[in-house]
Symmetry: D2
Subunit: 313 residues, 4 copies
């Protein structure tokens, strides 16, 4: 770019003011003209809004990290209910946590001052710790009871078909990710399904089960192939990020929109922290794409993005 | 703690819902009952509110990082104007950036897509880069003009006295940190003052200047000593964090409230990432203190905290 | 612990000296008596040595991250050849990279000064970037050629059986992870196998393939169940970490030794950054276990650990 | 750069082997041809070697972080004794820790399994915690005794002159940073000197002390101005990094060599994590400079670099 073109694109950083009666759209609009991750968050919000407004955009959402234990189940549920997610790729742990809550079990929180709690003591009390959240062992009993009674029609169905079946079988629940996906026919992919407490119990109780992971892989490639304008929102990285990205790699249309919210960084070379820019070299993200990486805990960023989308749409 | 006491303190993680017409107080209230950094942010907001409501609390605010270039000058200004900061400790760079904006110069932002801009090219164009923000060299000329004309009455005054003088000399400005501190008699400490462009220009134009850093050190110790309920909010760590903390270390009353917002972590042993819990061992933070560390970019967290305080106070 | 017991356990930090003719064992021995991650690295070395010396110890090794592209293939190969790994759990990407190198293709590195290379330009040149390493597209053609010719006897075999078959089919190679595992009968588990370029090509060329992931899940649980003294070394976290840990969770003997090398941190609640201490609450790690988390890029830590083990064993 | 030029510069990633009898020079030489931080560490080693071999190079070394408590005092001492550091810029805390050790006091380490030690309990036992290292309060009494007896000839001398005086006054000691700097006439700058326990005790016992910080600032600018080939090695960032960099900013010759070892990252905009590339835009680092940032805990990286330099020089 020539110097003159470059200089023309520069504009003043906005020393913005917050009024107590501002709404989230005004805040995000102000942050757009700042710097660092505040700006990136604002840009991410705007990109997501564009994804929603683009009728040709298929929105792939990758979800890793213990967001359900951290109280973000309803947030993700509402992303789906509002039509902000067309394809969900997630981890077996997230599904396990979602089923637990959907069956009426709960994750527990302590006071911050409890943080020095002794893990050996927790083990004795059958409380599994996820940073500052606790999952009682008895939750697994409830899941086991549900899982053991499942009547699985086809032991070789794809994981995504099985997750649709699970969603149908689960009781009605206003927070459940599996339930709302089943109701809205939003496919859920879980490439590392057997890496979960849910799969362990399935394996113990349904010994001939051989869910077909390859069907899922080919199905999401088909979805990506047929997409005119792919949009990607990745939370936390991991397998969900890679699975979405590899589906787009060989397609005629790579992602036109891309957002990632992560605490990982690129310097150690792992995919979770890789920049979206790097994804251009792979053909996963279009060189003309709008994209933004927000370095933030998703428990802070995701609710803000949803709030913005609900208000701004 | 006994098992029973521990279990009694546990409560259900709240799978909260956001409505588009919620306000920031409702959001923070929901986040309080979640986990990870969302909860820590909510707890930080509540602690800050308590600090404001506690008439005996002196609020020490440590500010490190390039927050003025990132558009957060007015946010910090409003913390001070609202009375949310009683003692400010900051870096020479922040003061330099504040003077630049106060004198009518601006930091510049580009499009995200400009991020691959070549730093050699920027150097040729006399644009200094701070991540995704740009500071034109000519800003320094404006500061130099201001600095060279200063008539300094006492070459051995403390840095904080000099910064009060600077605030008085600066033109009226609704965003200026130095100005609002001068107007409201909020002392500014800057232990690494000579580590700044501002000090370099002072040194070049006022060759006998020997601002007395020891007076500042003893003054903030006196302030800490006399404080009944010290409250600390640290942004980014660095020298401002340590300077506040060392002042509290030997006082009869260590901090009763403590908040830190940082991206640094404890494992490599640096003070910026050290936990507030560790500070208890030093006697800097009271073992009965309420405290919360939020791992977040301050450009996201600080505006949210201010917004909450304005609405909730 | 009583004050006296605590104080008795404290000893002087060693201000150690390095002589140019020291060997790695002397360096690690010195670091043992320091602090922060140097100490943790030294402790990790000693724990790994104990794992090797303990005849009852089954050594589970979780490998995530692009270590083969970063030149660590031979290092991992030698861990296996030396008998330092009994069970390997890894990602599909690592296997894809390993096959590429085993078939005679190479990852490429540029000069550091090339780091601003344009990703769009790389895409045009068919060079996929992994931070500062480049993978030419034509590598995939070589893999495809290999994969398309495979004669797979059982389309429903487990992934680990299939990976043993792959190792047998691959040409002789002194660096290959798959090859050395096949030769030494070290099982490789890959729970997210379909999340890989290798699986994509398998899926395209072997349309009825339905590798049985559940068999793997049950097989590693059996391995864990039968283990008297489980030892765990986790590099980078991700699915390999979780898959090993969930296998240990319900076993009579949880891990007696545990090492993790990661750049992730616990505060955002993801499993990759979770402390090994937290794993005690889950029963994945024994409360009596020796464990150490090293916050370090594995490309630095792994070669040092191997060097130490080779010299110290 | 044209495609052809780019491709010519690419070379094969080296899947290197470690033999147990390799030396550190062989290891670093192998790592040079890998990727990620292993490569950056190797490049940093080579740059430092070049700095030593370049007779026109003045080597500025910025030291932040609690490296003396972590057992790295002798390592830094030997950097100085070997002539690898010409100008040292550090924090008041590092000087305080150095004096403590030089006077015969010690930092203490516990077992890793002590990490859950209660900070309130530590406070009662007068043990100040620095992550996993402990500093007994009584150390301060020893420092106070030393400080109170100092006969300071000029209360307005520069901080660096005062630190030379301190080095002369301290007892002979083979590990002491202050002592070896005094002996070898290596100037020590400490821009945030009053941000330290050492300065607090000086302030209490020498009430008229007004060390001239501006003299230091101008002195290091003079040193930088006169330097033909500046070399910079920054550990941990903070004020020492900025103070060195601002000295180079307006000089005719910016840094020709630059190394930084840090765990900080650029995305939140703070100087500690800023890339060396960004420094080119400021004119702090030459666009032709050789530079490398290593994302690593300095307690691991620094001993390896010293070991390499001792062997390779």
């Amino acid at each position: 770019m020539s110097n003159e073109d470059f200089k023309k694109k520069l504009k003043k950083v906005n020393q913005f003011k917050i009024d107590k009666d501002d709404d989230i759209v005004e805040l995000i609009s102000s942050l757009k003209n700042t710097g660092f991750n505040a700006k990136r968050l604002a840009v991410a919000c705007e990109i997501y809004k564009e994804m929603i407004q683009d009728k040709d955009c298929v929105k792939f959402f990758g979800l890793a990290g213990a967001l359900v234990p951290a109280g973000m189940q309803k947030i993700i549920h509402d992303f789906i209910e509002e039509g902000f997610i067309d394809v969900l790729v997630t981890t077996g742990a997230s599904l396990t946590h979602d089923i637990a809550e959907t069956l009426g079990y709960h994750h527990l929180q302590g006071e911050l001052s409890l943080k020095e709690v002794d893990d050996s003591e927790l083990h004795n009390q059958e409380l599994n710790r996820i940073y500052d959240v606790f999952l009682p062992n008895k939750v697994y009993e409830g899941i086991e009871d549900f899982v053991s009674k499942l009547e699985i029609s086809d032991e070789n169905m794809s994981v995504s078909s099985f997750l649709k079946f699970l969603g149908d079988e689960l009781p009605k629940n206003d927070n459940s990710i599996l339930k709302i996906c089943a109701e809205k026919n939003v496919p859920i992919f879980c490439p590392a399904f057997t890496d979960s407490g849910l799969a362990l119990q399935l394996g113990f109780h349904h010994q001939n089960l051989n869910l077909n992971h390859f069907k899922d892989m080919l199905k999401i490639v088909d979805l990506a192939w047929d997409t005119k304008n792919a949009g990607v929102c990745v939370v936390g990285g991991g397998v969900p990020k890679n699975f979405i990205m590899q589906s787009l790699q060989f397609c005629p249309n790579s992602a036109q929109y891309a957002i990632q919210i992560t605490m990982d960084r690129p310097e150690q070379g792992g995919l979770s922290g890789a920049t979206l820019h790097e994804a251009i070299s792979w053909g996963k993200v279009s060189e003309k794409a709008k994209f933004s990486t927000v370095i933030a805990d998703a428990t802070i960023a995701l609710p803000l993005i949803l709030w913005y989308l609900l208000k701004a749409k």
